[in-house]
Amino acid sequence: MVTNLIKVKGYNQKYLKKSFTLIELMVVIAILTITAGLTTSVIVSITRSYSKTQITNELEQAAGFASQKLTKELRNAVAITNISSTSISFSDHTNDVITYRVNANQLQRRSQLAGTAFRALTDTNTTSVSCPSGCFSELNSNPKVISIKMKFTSAGTEGGTAFTGSVDINDTVVVRGTY
């Protein structure tokens, strides 16, 4: 009833007759285009740095977990059996010999008692570990003080642009069993 009335009275006709001129429409489109362009570029850059931050955050968590496990075990060790720039072996109270090594861009751990093979401590698909200035070194011999320096990197390709997040681990551990 109501819609009929509008149509009968020629509302649509009038609307069509006297609406935008071409100039008006172009002005509006121009303003809209500028706004949309600015907004899009801002949103794209926000998304990019957001995912970058998130990747670094996850990497920080993963690196923190791996280094905490290593430092905790190393601190409670009884003796260091072997140390090189990319690997360290130590014995603990249960006569187990635990080895950590950086091999094939991964931080790997092996327990001799458990008889298992080397197993990576972080996600092998996303995270890689390197030793830019030697991973393990001895700072002091009595008691043994071990310096651990590792670089965890994670590559991402969010938003079409490749970037790399990296986290440095720089731990100093006093081996309690060697006091």
Binding site: K14, K18, V28, T35, N57, E60, G64, T172
Partner: protein, 159 residues
């Protein structure tokens, strides 16, 4: 009643939408879009800040471990001598196992960090306990070193 109101409306809008109305609508759209962008910018910034805080906490703990290693590799009296001058006015930092009488400035993930520690006696009459307080501050964007993380540990003469 209904018919009347529609009639009035029709008469008012004889000329369709004008440019002014369109610009007003655009203005509203822009305000909405701008607020959404600034909201997501704020969210991003706080995520970055929390990530930096996580990194700073890790850096502070690293420093505490170094000071602990320093205590364990020397005698207690030598340790006290080494950290003696580390006060609020002249904080120290660690370089491997050596105490340096200045703060440590470095770049980590493109952010400028400062790290230093102070030593004090938490129990004034007891020189067998030393409190090591580490402060890590950082510069984000164009700001000064206005964000910081503080962590402390009490080291005792246990041997």
């Amino acid at each position: 009643m209904i018919i009347k109101s529609f009639k009035n409306k029709r008469i008012k809008h004889k000329n369709g939408f004008g440019l002014i109305e369109t610009v007003a609508a655009l203005g509203v759209t822009m305000i909405v879009v701008t607020s959404m962008v600034s909201m997501s910018l704020y969210a991003l910034r706080s995520t970055q800040q929390s990530q930096l805080m996580l990194a700073a906490t890790k850096l502070a703990n690293e420093e505490l471990e170094r000071v602990r290693a320093k205590r364990d590799t020397t005698t207690w009296s030598a340790f006290l001598t080494a950290v003696n001058g580390c006060t609020q006015l002249s904080p120290c930092s660690m370089n491997e196992l050596n105490v340096v009488g200045s703060q440590n400035t470095f770049t980590y993930n493109n952010v400028d960090f400062r790290r230093s520690f102070v030593a004090s006696y938490p129990i004034p009459s007891d020189t067998n306990v030393v409190r090591i307080g580490v402060t890590v501050s950082w510069k984000f964007g164009s700001s000064t070193y206005n964000k910081s993380v503080y962590n402390y540990t009490d080291l005792s003469n246990w041997r």
